[in-house]
Amino acid sequence: MRDFFFHAPDNLQEALSLLNEHGDDARLMAGGTAMMLMMKQSLLEANHVVSLHKVPGLAYINRDNGTLRIGALTKHRDVETSAEVKATNPLLAEVYSRIATVRIRNVGTVGGGLAHSDPAQDPQPALLALGARVKITSAKGEREVALSDFLVDYYETALEPGEVITELIVPNAPDGAKGVYIKYLPRTADDYPTVGVAAIGVVNGGVCQDVRLGLGALAPTALRATSVEDALKGQQVTAQSVRQAAEAVADLVDPLDDPRGSAEYKRDMSVVFARRALEQALGLS
């Protein structure tokens, strides 16, 4: 790993001014679990690393009127184990518990994970299904972006130069909803998924009142399958209707060949795992 200047500001304003001062030469580091790997492989080279580990006040989980507000420096492990999260949004606790290993979740942060923007990350499909938003702070002020607009491409987000993610805002699932995350892991238990699918469903009298479907590891970013959702909403939930809706996932995805599977295989599996996730969320299995 090449050497670099290391900055450890003890407040957010100083971190922002370091970013403005060094421009493209500077990179923010939160937990560093993903960034260290990229730096070790020279996939990312920064002359100035601005570490946020001494910036106070950005690690919190607050309940706010039907949403959870999670500070950007909150560790994955703290989301996973939070009694507040488990009680108000169990799917959120579940998806953060599926990231890598305890050792990584102790260090990796919610904001760092969003900035990294690898399409195979575990939380994003559920976050998209829940309608999460990202709060971004810069010297000019704050703005809020829907996660679906925030995720732009492989390792690319809507963050502009000089901006920092400060909060993740996650609405609760609708009343009576069942949420599931299926992580298909043909290799090891701590791997990124070959296919990751999150589904949320509300069924009343056998009719689908609400359904959300998020897909991970299948396209340049995690994505939400709204056309599949629309095909199911208001319809009678049957094995046949769910099977048919899940078939349409194959046309929405654009996976890559990699050691976790060929593009063709992942496309096939996207249908299988979307179907299973929908069956569970809609109470068929």
């Binding site: 090449r2 200047f5 450890a8 679990t33 580990h53 290993t101 701590d190």
Partner: protein
């Protein structure tokens, strides 16, 4: 493009003892432990945070010291395998790993012991599933894992924290 970078003073408490070092920003915590401070009990194997050999406690939590910058550990309290025994008296986990075949070649063992100590500190009587979930990030290429799980169970039964 700037070419010269400075050394950073790092001061931390390791196994209850104060240490100071001067390191370049790119120095990882595991390299500082091993090469700057001579604490070679902690091993580095995969270098990418997957294998668990370099596991240490940072302010009580298990971390991959190969993915931690030494400068980020400034001011922290670190526990390494050298700090697990009480003087000449081995920790119950160390005894249990010896008595139950919890290691063969030994490269992964410092990480296994440090990680399992953190488990028993937070959960003195883990179920087998809890042990597997917690220790999933510590790879062993010799034992086949059964003896590691058994070592932790036996240490827990003996009340070994």
């Amino acid at each position: 493009m700037t070419t010269s970078t400075a050394l950073h003073k790092v001061s931390l408490t390791i196994n209850g003892k104060k240490y100071d070092a001067e390191v370049p920003a790119r120095r990882t915590l595991v390299d500082m432990l091993r090469y700057d401070l001579g604490l070679t009990g902690t091993k580095e194997a995969c270098s990418v945070g997957v294998c668990g050999a370099c596991t240490v406690l940072l302010n009580g939590s298990i971390v991959a010291s190969c993915l931690t910058l030494a400068v980020q550990a400034d001011g922290a309290e670190i526990t390494t395998i050298e700090g697990i025994a009480d003087g000449d008296k081995l920790h119950p986990l160390q005894e249990s790993f010896m008595n139950n075949g919890g290691f063969q070649c030994g490269i992964c063992t410092p990480g296994q012991i440090v990680a399992s100590k953190a488990l028993l500190d937070s959960n003195p009587h883990p179920t087998e599933d809890e042990i597997k979930e917690w220790m999933m990030g510590n790879l062993c290429r010799c034992t086949g894992y059964y003896q590691i799980i058994e070592s932790i169970q036996k240490a827990a039964e003996a009340g070994g924290k």
